[in-house]
């Protein structure tokens, strides 16, 4: 039974802040927060989480405001890291159903 909080640095301007709560060898809760550094500050743009057992993706405007939200299947950190490595900052403007 473990809480894992990770700061996954992709490069100096992109990172994923991760929270995973693991019990009985399964991830009970996750949140993967894709952030971009603007003017020296990390801003949240995309968030995958399964709060209340409802996996979804949220898009934010970089100022803390929720812009769009859609349901998704459960994601893993590995998948999210791959997406960020492939699409980088283009992820921010992509159709949420594709990410």
């Amino acid at each position: 039974m473990q809480i894992e909080k990770k700061e996954y640095i992709i490069n100096e301007n992109e990172k994923i802040d991760v929270l995973e709560i693991i019990g009985d060898d399964a991830i009970k809760f996750y949140s993967y927060n894709y952030k971009i550094k603007n003017n020296g500050k990390w801003k949240l743009y995309l968030r995958w989480d399964n709060f209340q057992k409802q996996p979804h993706i949220d898009r934010f405007d970089g100022a803390g405001n929720l812009v769009e939200s859609t349901q998704s299947r459960e994601k893993t950190l590995k998948e999210v890291v791959e997406l960020v490595n492939i699409f980088g900052k283009n992820l921010v403007s992509m159709n949420l159903e594709r990410v």
């Binding site: 473990q2 894992e4 909080k5 929270l19 019990g23």
Partner: protein
């Protein structure tokens, strides 16, 4: 360069976990208030949701582990024997300033300053400001090199 990842890992002890719970309580007034704010009407505040889940798990006795993962090869390329020695010292010791660190290591201030800044740029150590002094700190129990 061979693709590698560096992991800086830190396990919280019981006191640190309790202190984290206290901080969350203070932030929201009480756990009941946090629960009310999060569960009422589809909360979309990311930090609040994460704090709520962390608090719930800590309350159930889950252990807490913090990791920093560095995907950039720059983090690995900054290692030199002297910088490894510096990291190893910071793992087990707290210092008040770069000058104090240089004294402990028996090295020249300027070289220790340059090494500390290179390690900070690579994301391996942090500086805490105390007045005019900068206190270098390694916030990890382990540094793990992982081949991708």
């Amino acid at each position: 360069m061979v693709p590698v990842k560096l992991r800086l890992e830190k396990d919280y002890n019981d006191n640190e976990s309790e202190s984290l719970m206290e901080k969350i309580k203070e932030k929201y007034g009480s756990p009941a208030r946090l629960k009310q704010r999060v569960t009422r009407g589809g909360c979309r505040n990311p930090q609040m949701v994460d704090d709520f889940e962390v608090y719930k798990a800590l309350k159930k006795g889950y252990s807490f582990k913090v990791e920093k993962v560095l995907q950039s090869s720059r983090a690995v390329s900054c290692f030199t024997p002297r910088r490894v020695e510096l990291l190893s010292f910071l793992k087990d010791n707290e210092v008040k300033s770069i000058k104090s660190l240089a004294n402990h290591l028996g090295r020249d201030y300027k070289n220790v300053y340059d090494d500390s800044k290179a390690l900070e740029d690579a994301g391996l150590i942090k500086f805490e400001k105390e007045g005019r002094k900068q206190r270098p700190r390694l916030d990890a129990d382990r540094i793990v090199l992982e081949f991708k």
